[in-house]
């Protein structure tokens, strides 16, 4: 099967080169026959990559440990779900996964793009094929997943215990889907530039794709946070690690694009900016891959250091130079159709929103690269960790949160003082009331107070928008409130889906503020001994150690420490944290013992218990008890954000006129007024 897999990779590589060459030349010469051939080429690439993927799957599920990758990431006793995730757990497999998914997206772009945009497709196919050829080349000339060992070990090493978690089954593919699908909007942007079809048409072709990418990236990032929280055991979910930052960067620029594209659709402005954002997003996704795979920046998440990082660097630089050169040559053709008229308008608010999103992206990129810069310029190594990122980015994030409330409510073109007062008076009052209440309750963390105040303000603006919309429908159609709400959202999905996304962002900021009040305490307990921890909400949590039991599970020896938990003396339940010594099918230890945390999640706080180990080989256990306020809301906010994204991209009312109306305000049919 490895021979078949390797052959399929070569076939995919050659087909991708051929498709790229024919795609560019066919589009240039305007030959429809070649366009059809290019489309078939894209499908053939997909076929070859699926064959290669099937070959690796076969090796994994049949435990062919002669394949280096299979021996390195699986074992005979690895639970089945992790046999699936082993496909993308290592560098080589994840490269093949990336190429195969890109093949799927490229084929879907060819198959699903409406006929009116077909003129762009040969160029789109060429760009996706060049990208596919690159990824396949990395495997063929760098790290092949089909490399064989000189011998066949009786069992494999197994999967890293920290990857044996459902979060790691779901998080990487979601993130990859986000990264990879960015290629399609990028391909359309390049196609529009090459073919000089620079009207708003190409935006229509990529609107759904950008939303799909944004949605997958969002899901991937939130799942990654959840995995870090439940698996890594440090009690947090975001550490500003370079690899985490790498996933955040394209999300920021894509979010900026999703906002600025509305201005291009409505006012014909920001055309150059929008192309630049899409190109930057694609480059940042490649940059993220470079960071993860090169080892150039130290990270707790990266794959083993390898030379393939330099393939990515070369591709990144080439793609950047070619794309921005192309944009420069088309600069005069991307003139705006209208001009901004006022600093106090929705367009201006969106511009400032874009500035902040791109500014935060720059800040994160700057911080991520600063160690390299410092070493180059000063010869001094520095570490740029969470204290740096929090200090630099939190103020920018709070400004962005404020604009999340201001932008959608301010008038297009020019807002008057009356408009501002009517739109913001109530929400500002809510925000100020919350600030006063927090200060009166003794909260003194400036950033937390600011975040919760702004969250209340923005939440107020969103509730106000829904309230006004529902009331308008009730008055005009006599609908009951739930029905009015459903129809309001259903008929203005893009606008109200966007508001739901904003609700998710607001909740997330509020939940982040909770981490300012995190409490940690370590304790050594013998069976029956107790310790109390003061919750930031004022109550007392009691932990009584019940004992440590050991037993053998499928691929591990488990040492489970249990504690009984009380809140102000009332029992909450029993929590368990484990040490897991993973073993292969011959019971030989495969990794250092790993830790599984116990989490009791609630709306106010999470109780987080970590069994650190035992004293002198007895049941006397060392624990870390952590109280994490508002963490549940991070996951809930992630769900709201994804739900809002789905509402926004759900197919429906989308004629250009309907879109214009739904963006500009409530729809008030004149006929209704006449009656």
């Amino acid at each position: 099967m490895t021979l078949l897999g390797q052959f399929a990779l070569w076939a995919a590589f050659l087909l991708a080169l051929w498709t790229a060459a024919v795609g560019f030349s066919g589009a240039w010469r305007g030959r429809p026959g070649l366009a059809l051939a290019v489309r078939r080429g894209v499908y053939a690439i997909l076929g070859a990559l699926l064959v290669a993927s099937a070959a690796l799957w076969y090796g994994i599920v049949t435990h062919d440990f002669n394949i280096e990758y299979v021996a390195a990431y699986t074992s005979r006793n690895l639970p089945k779900p992790y046999l699936i995730s082993a496909f993308w757990a290592g560098q080589k497999g994840s490269l093949l996964f990336w190429a195969a998914v890109l093949g799927i997206f490229a084929a879907l772009a060819q198959a699903l793009t409406p006929r009116r945009h077909h003129g762009l497709l040969p160029h789109v196919a060429a760009v996706t094929s060049v990208t596919t050829a690159f990824f396949v080349a990395v495997m063929l000339f760098g790290d092949s997943p089909f490399a064989r060992l000189a011998f066949t070990p009786p069992d494999g090493r197994g999967l890293n215990p920290q990857l044996q978690n459902i979060g790691m089954v779901l998080h990487p593919p979601m993130l990859y889907l986000g990264y990879i699908s960015i290629t399609i909007p990028f391909a359309f942007a390049i196609a529009a530039l090459l073919s000089r079809r620079l009207d708003a048409g190409w935006l229509g072709a990529i609107r759904k794709w950008t939303l799909v990418s944004w949605l997958f990236l969002s899901i991937g990032i939130v799942l990654g946070m959840w995995w870090a929280y439940v698996e890594l055991g440090w009690g947090g979910y975001w550490a500003w690690d370079p690899v985490e930052n790498a996933s955040f960067l394209p999300w920021l620029t894509m979010t900026a694009f999703l906002h600025s594209v509305m201005i291009q659709e409505k006012r014909g402005m920001l055309k150059r900016w929008n192309v630049a954002l899409i190109v930057a997003t694609f480059l940042l996704s490649i940059f993220g891959t470079f960071i993860t795979r090169s080892g150039v920046i130290a990270s707790v998440h990266s794959f083993a250091q390898s030379g393939v990082g330099y393939f990515f660097l070369a591709f990144l630089v080439s793609a950047g130079i070619l794309s921005f050169t192309l944009l420069y040559t088309r600069w005069p053709e991307l003139e705006p159709e209208s001009r901004l008229e006022s600093t106090v308008s929705r367009e201006a608010a969106f511009l400032f929103n874009n500035l902040l999103l791109v500014g935060i992206a720059f800040s994160v990129l700057w911080g991520t690269l600063f160690p390299i810069l410092s070493e180059w310029l000063q010869g001094t190594k520095v570490t740029v960790g969470p204290p740096f990122f929090n200090r630099v980015n939190v103020p920018l994030g709070l400004l962005l949160l404020a604009l999340t409330g201001i932008g959608p409510l301010i008038a297009w073109r020019k807002a008057s003082a009356g408009n501002l007062k009517r739109q913001f008076a109530a929400s500002a009052a809510v925000g100020l009331a919350v600030a006063a209440a927090l200060l009166a309750s003794g909260m003194r963390d400036g950033y937390a107070v600011a975040a919760l105040t702004l969250a209340a303000f923005v939440g107020g603006t969103i509730v106000q928008e829904f309230w006004r919309g529902v009331r308008a429908r009730q008055r005009m159609h006599g609908e009951p409130a739930p029905l009015a709400l459903m129809r309001l959202v259903g008929r203005n999905r893009r606008r109200y889906g966007g508001y739901i996304v904003h609700v998710g962002i607001v909740l997330m900021f509020a939940a982040f503020a909770g981490m300012a009040f995190k409490v940690d305490q370590e304790a050594t307990l013998r069976p029956g001994e107790s310790v109390t921890v003061a919750s930031p909400f004022g109550h007392e949590l009691g932990f009584t150690h019940l004992g440590v039991s050991q037993y053998k599970a499928l691929n591990r020896i488990v040492s489970a420490a249990t504690v009984q938990v009380t809140r102000d003396g009332r029992p909450l339940g029993v929590m368990k944290s484990e040490k897991r010594q993973h073993v292969d099918s011959f019971d030989r230890p495969t990794f250092e013992p790993s830790t599984e945390v116990g989490i009791l999640s609630g709306l106010r706080e999470d109780i987080y218990v970590v069994y650190a180990g035992s004293v002198g080989g007895t049941e006397e256990a060392v624990y870390r008890f952590t109280v994490n306020p508002l963490v549940w809301w991070v996951w809930f906010a992630g769900g709201v954000l994804v739900f809002g994204g789905l509402v926004t991209m759900w197919p429906g009312a989308s004629t250009p006129n309907e879109r214009r109306q739904s963006q500009s305000g409530y729809e008030v049919p004149l006929a209704e007024v006449r009656s």
């Binding site: 008229e341 001094t380 740096f388 920018l396 408009n419 029956g528 040492s559 650190a612």
Partner: protein, 212 residues
Amino acid sequence: MSGSVGRRRFLVLAGTALAGLGAARAAGQQPLPGGGESGRLYDPRAAGRPRDPVGESQNDPEIIAIEKQLKCTCGCNLDVYICRTTDFTCTYSPALHDEIVALNASGLSADQVIDAYLAKYGPEFRMAPKPEGFNLAGYLVPGAVVLAAGTALALMLRRRSLVASAAAVEAGAVAPRPAGPGGGADGPLAVPADATPEEADRLRRALEEVES
């Protein structure tokens, strides 16, 4: 062999069993003391590295605050506190903790402890660069770039709005319609050309209701 048991033998056995039961019950009833013997683990190695009991210094907020500013030297990229309370396989961070405690106990202030640690291990073991010299650029550049771009954007918008107003006045047009019914926050909703004045008036009132 006869299975019968004599009366005396039976009483002795029964007495012993009752006494044993009583003892076991008493042991079971003994409130979990925290002072009794801890049972030994069947396979201590499977429970990770043996741990020392937690000392006071491990929960000392001053020590923790120092540890959160210093990077562990094991290559994990984490601060000393997170490493020693998370990566229980690390042998470096517990030793580094002891070193920090010793430095602190010798009368050094938090800053002096940090300086001593960095002098020993190198400046890259601070979790964030000290905001001085070139490192200051690291802290200031992002904010400065955003501020500069924001100011430039605001100035550009202001200039354009002045130009637009002047052009409107020159053209004899009415100044941009203020926010309110049919405009403003809800965008310029033009009254259809075929609407009668009464219809336009009713539309305006309906929009007023919507916006109020």
